[in-house]
Symmetry: C2
Subunit: 336 residues, 2 copies
């Protein structure tokens, strides 16, 4: 096991890399801790929850809503949870988003940590303190930014992960490469999904590298005034199509990245459009989709990144170098 | 008008004392601002809301619940509110609690300010960043701590305040005196409610003094690890009886202060019990109530200040000097 601490504005987060789930007992006291997970994970790993207070959520993004938050809070009250308790989210991004959100509002804030169980959560969703829920068609419309006490990484939990969930994670890994790390972009081009699924040391290294990359950006700009916005690459159009067409997050982001690459070519003479769409395709992810332009645009204008008649859009100058540009809404509509 | 800035951990709050409501236009831009108020205030002061985006809540603590938060968020989405917007709560503690809470979670946080319209909100509820909603019988079970950009004080808004609301505010003023300010305690003993209602300069001075007192304590200990806990004097038993018997907050706190004074006499040989109950009585507030002991105790153990089998209880060593003591739950039960 390797422990790396990252100090955020008001909270230090400990990253336990290359750890085993069983280590959790030495990280938090069982008595004052409640594990929050979903029904799939509870069914797949009944043993690991034994001896812990546990709250089991229905699985899936459609339950990332206020009704689930209400239910978790009712259960915490019934358990007589107080301010000394720690909530630990065991799961993918939906579980960690809900757990972090509940922890940030229950009793005006209690401690929390995560054990991400999907590749996407390990390299992205569980890191950085953003949490929240969806409201109607709008993703993450409500939430807070608050940092977990710890993240515990056990890649053995990925063993039963379905292929589409692996691809989901690679969408964010490709994103990190595209906006921040041209070297990793090259390495990804030389490998494929199958290689990382078969080669545990390479996988561990990739996970740790991406987690560190994300944590570094967040540390530099926790409240997203500046550099952190780059991580939204692919997510503006992505979010708008995701809910409307029930896409996987990684699929939606891939479509969004391809669109942002097209915009970048048009507006910044970005040369890597084809290279990026090739890499996305190489990892089994989509680069285009038929969608109702007006409907998607209507959701897009409700994006948190809109400011009046403009949208802060993340574009690429080159592979490994992203920038934020204010783009008029009608320009986006035209290019869609 | 007098402007005092107080720097909290991540936010400076501007206090506009002795201001007029009409000043609000120079504090926030009308276009990107929404005023949040309740139906009574909207009916009582139709003119002041003219020209502003407005969300009107149902009045009363029974609406300080998630359903109201949901409704405000739906209305903000419908208005296409984005991160550049400011929410301004115009009202008593319920309105400011909901406004602050919504602002701290909508789009993961937008700017907000308050115009308190009750004495209680002016001297206490609107200051310090605590916000939130009730869950079932449990007060403020869910919320955050986040500081407003500004508070605007216009005591002219108190003109139509009913007498029981005046008493409500004085409960917190008496609390401030009891825990922090023996001089103010003496001055309060020499006056009465009628005097402050008739004497505007004395009222303004009292409001500003109490607002400054509270802001100072919060600044020293924003996240309630230490000194801020003293402000909970009278609130532990108070909260437990308040919801169950639909008492005014000030009535409940008064009953709670009288109980805490009794506990203080028993445990710390506090000598001022009678003086305090006399002062509470002098301002028309209750010092005792018949209640179902077991029922109230059951709510009390769910208080945020409980830690395992003990409760952090605020007691008085003397008038003007409060301390936090861990008291076993059964001891509290015995004294109830």
């Amino acid at each position: 096991m390797q422990v790396k601490k990252v100090q955020f504005s008001t909270q230090a987060t400990a990253f336990y890399f290359d750890a085993a789930f069983s280590t959790l007992k030495s990280v938090v006291p069982q008595k004052n801790t409640v594990l929050i997970t979903d029904e799939h994970l509870a069914a797949a790993h009944p043993k690991i929850f034994k001896g812990w207070n546990t709250i089991v959520l229905k699985a899936g993004e459609e339950y990332k809503v206020q009704a689930t938050v209400d239910s978790v809070i009712q259960q915490l009250i019934a358990m007589h949870a107080d301010r000394t308790w720690t909530l630990v989210g065991i799961g993918g991004g939906v579980v960690t988003d809900i757990t972090g959100y509940v922890a940030s509002i229950f009793l005006r804030g209690v401690k929390f940590g995560f054990v991400p169980t999907t590749l996407l959560a390990m390299v992205d969703a569980a890191i950085g303190g953003k949490n929240g829920i969806d409201v109607g068609l709008y993703k993450n419309m409500v939430g807070t930014i608050s940092q977990p006490q710890f993240l515990l990484y056990d890649v053995a939990l990925l063993k039963s992960l379905p292929d589409n969930e692996w691809r989901n994670g690679f969408a964010e890994i490709i994103k990190h490469a595209a906006i921040l790390d041209a070297t990793m972009f090259k390495e990804l081009l030389e490998r494929n999904l199958d290689y990382f699924q078969r080669t545990k040391p390479a996988l561990k290294k990739l996970v740790q590298r991406n987690a560190a990359l994300k944590a570094k950006v967040v540390k530099e700009d926790e409240f997203e005034k500046d550099k952190r916005r780059l991580l939204n690459f692919g997510h503006t159009l992505g979010h708008a199509v995701e809910k409307q067409y029930s896409l996987m997050h990684g699929e939606a982001v891939s479509i969004g990245m391809a669109f942002a690459a097209k915009l970048s070519a048009e507006m910044l003479k970005f040369k890597g459009q084809e290279k990026l769409t090739d890499l996305i395709d190489q990892y089994g992810l989509p680069v285009a989709a038929g969608y109702d332009k007006q409907k998607v645009f209507d959701v897009l204008v409700s994006d948190k990144k809109r400011e009046g008649e403009q949208m802060n859009f993340i574009l690429l100058e080159r592979i490994g170098k992203a920038v934020v540009k204010k783009i008029p809404l009608q320009e986006i509509y035209k290019m869609m």
